[in-house]
């Protein structure tokens, strides 16, 4: 059987490869020359990438270590923190996107197709969207203490209305299409129409939206850390590393550039993957390719 069309697309190949690499790094972090990312030694603070220094372990012993990506203002190894941070960022992105899409699809289909639900659901969605996402995030993190679950939920909730709106607007357009009217007149049950006729036509924009949410989630986590309301500082995330390094950007930009580069690369990969998927999965697009 020939290679599925999806994998023949260069964007998909590049995006997926980078992501696979990142997943590998995340999983294999403890064995890639890292130390415990929370250990620090004040004597090793603010080292430029490549310098050597010392770290004190919890048992009190001192080990020599080369800080390949430099150290932060505590004296922690940025290389270790960045690698371990990959885990968190990938998890946040994937979980938030999945959560937002799932709820958004259900709500959007219901609102777009079932008239009486439209009013109620959209008012509720509007209510949520009206509350600034940052506020929801801060309040949730404060209420439940900063943790992966809290941050994921806090990032996903403001995205749900957006997905709902998008699905709904697409449904509103597609609903008037002739083949849908035909299906209705044939007496096809509602759920069948939704899933067999309407949903497949939503896939392409939803995939774009989904990858956008994943990428945005990773970025929003960084912003939440910047404001001091993200994951607790002892969990290494790219956002945390950057937020702690921002007071010294002019002198030690490596604190921001290195995690920033990882962040940009990840988000880029996700977006490229999404583009590739959309190009190949959208049936109408296939005609032109």
């Amino acid at each position: 059987m020939a290679t599925p069309r999806v994998f023949r697309n260069w964007s998909v190949r590049i995006g997926a490869s980078v992501l696979v690499l990142l997943v590998f790094v995340a999983a294999a972090a403890p064995w890639l020359g890292t130390v415990d990312p929370t250990l620090f030694d004040a004597g090793s603070r603010d080292l430029v990438p490549g310098k050597a220094g010392e770290i004190t372990t919890l048992d009190g012993e001192i080990i020599k270590h080369t800080f390949m990506m430099g150290s932060d203002s505590f004296g922690r190894d940025i290389y270790s923190r960045v690698l371990y941070g990959t885990r968190v960022s990938l998890a946040v992105g994937l979980l938030a996107a999945t959560l937002a899409l799932s709820f958004g699809i259900v709500f959007g289909l219901s609102a777009g197709y079932i008239r009486w639900m439209d009013g109620v659901l959209m008012r509720f969605m509007d209510g949520i969207m009206a509350i600034p996402a940052i506020l929801i995030a801060i309040a949730l993190v404060a209420l439940w203490r900063g943790s992966l679950a809290t941050v994921v939920v806090a990032i996903a909730i403001p995205e749900i209305p957006r997905v709902t709106r998008l699905v709904r607007s697409l449904v509103l357009s597609i609903r008037e299409e002739p083949y849908v009217e035909a299906a209705v007149s044939l007496g096809t049950p509602t759920w069948k129409i939704m899933f067999r006729h309407i949903l497949p036509n939503c896939v392409a924009p939803l995939v774009v939206q989904g990858t956008y949410i994943c990428a945005a989630a990773i970025l929003v986590e960084a912003i939440l850390s910047f404001l001091g309301v993200g994951l607790p500082p002892d969990i290494p995330t790219w956002g945390n590393i950057m937020s702690e390094g921002r007071a010294q950007f002019n002198q030690y930009p490596h604190n921001i550039f290195i995690p920033g580069a990882f962040l940009a690369a990840t988000v880029l990969a996700v977006n490229i993957l999404g583009d590739g998927l959309r190009d190949t999965l959208d049936p109408k697009m296939a005609k032109r390719v």
């Binding site: 969207m129 009206a130 404060a142 709106r165 956008y212 990428a215 977006n271 109408k284």
Partner: protein
């Protein structure tokens, strides 16, 4: 709808930890002093009573007084309105003016070098967090080249020149992600529209390509594009908070964050209601514009 928001927010605030009285009292206050302040702020009354008092005042147009700064919430909001509106409006206008043509162009020249280059740039715009971009811009443009100020906001009343000068870098920072978002969706939507049969018909009819593109391609792609602009406006607040922090612009975004961190309930409630109101207005406009763009949509 605003009622739902009001109730939601009120409850959410009262449920979060963080006692405004302890914060106000300061470092060296004793527990009795804090208790007294709590009573003063009316926080000792049952929640239902507190809501009733607040709702009653609201109906009379009184948003209450900030726990933290001893001025009315309405006055606080009015002080912070101009900077945020200036920043937001300028950013949206700039982003739309740049992104829609870019996206349409990319779709038109689908697969060509222009398409790839434009999309490459826009994807980069997506991927870099706002504050990193802000720091880079400030470092290069303000510090090294000295062309623009580092921080601050100047009111329009003090001169349009300084006003604009101080807003250029913040707008640039904020608009990058919107240009990226809007350009991408424009491209996707226009591509879909261009794949439609009516485009082939239009071309077969011999219409000039520009007319095909704008009158038939862009117009039919309008619904998702306008939706995304609407969504983008809602996103604005997140970006505005960061931008206002780094550039020291005293706007509503920062007010929200500061108020939440200070557990200043009246201000938080007031600001959210205000945002909700704005949001309702904007989306009303957008919903109405659907009818204009897609005659098939009926309400």
């Amino acid at each position: 709808m605003l009622v739902i928001v009001a109730v939601l927010v009120f409850l959410l605030l009262r449920l979060t930890p963080g006692d405004p009285a302890a914060i106000l009292a300061g470092d060296a206050a004793s527990t009795e002093q804090i208790a007294r302040i709590r009573a003063d702020l009316g926080l000792e009354k049952p929640i239902v009573v507190q809501f009733g008092i607040w709702a009653g005042r609201l109906l009379r147009g009184d948003l209450g007084e900030s726990f933290y700064y001893k001025i009315t919430v309405a006055e606080l909001i009015s002080q912070r309105l101009e900077p945020t509106l200036s920043l937001s409006a300028l950013t949206i206008v700039f982003a739309v003016l740049v992104a829609v043509p870019l996206g349409a162009l990319a779709a038109w020249r689908f697969g060509g070098w222009l398409d790839r280059a434009l999309m490459g740039f826009s994807v980069m715009g997506f991927s870099v967090p706002g504050f990193v971009l802000a720091y880079i811009l400030i470092y290069v443009v303000s510090l090294k080249l000295g062309w623009l100020p580092v921080q601050g906001y100047r009111r329009i009343a003090d001169g349009a020149g300084p006003w604009l000068q101080h807003l250029i870098l913040p707008c640039l920072t904020l608009s990058v992600i919107f240009i990226a978002l809007i350009a991408r969706v424009t491209r996707a939507a226009v591509l879909e529209a261009l794949g439609e049969d009516y485009i082939r018909t239009a071309r077969a009819k011999g219409l000039p390509e520009v007319r095909v593109l704008v009158r038939h391609g862009l117009a039919n792609a309008a619904v998702p594009i306008v939706t995304v602009i609407g969504i983008g406006i809602a996103l604005l607040i997140g970006g505005v908070v960061v931008t206002e922090s780094v550039y020291a612009i005293p706007g509503l975004g920062r007010l929200t964050v500061d108020a939440v961190l200070a557990r200043d309930f009246p201000t938080i409630q007031g600001v959210i209601l205000f945002f909700s109101f704005l949001y309702v207005m904007v989306n009303l406009l957008i919903d109405l514009s659907y009818v204009f763009f897609d005659p098939r949509i009926r309400y």
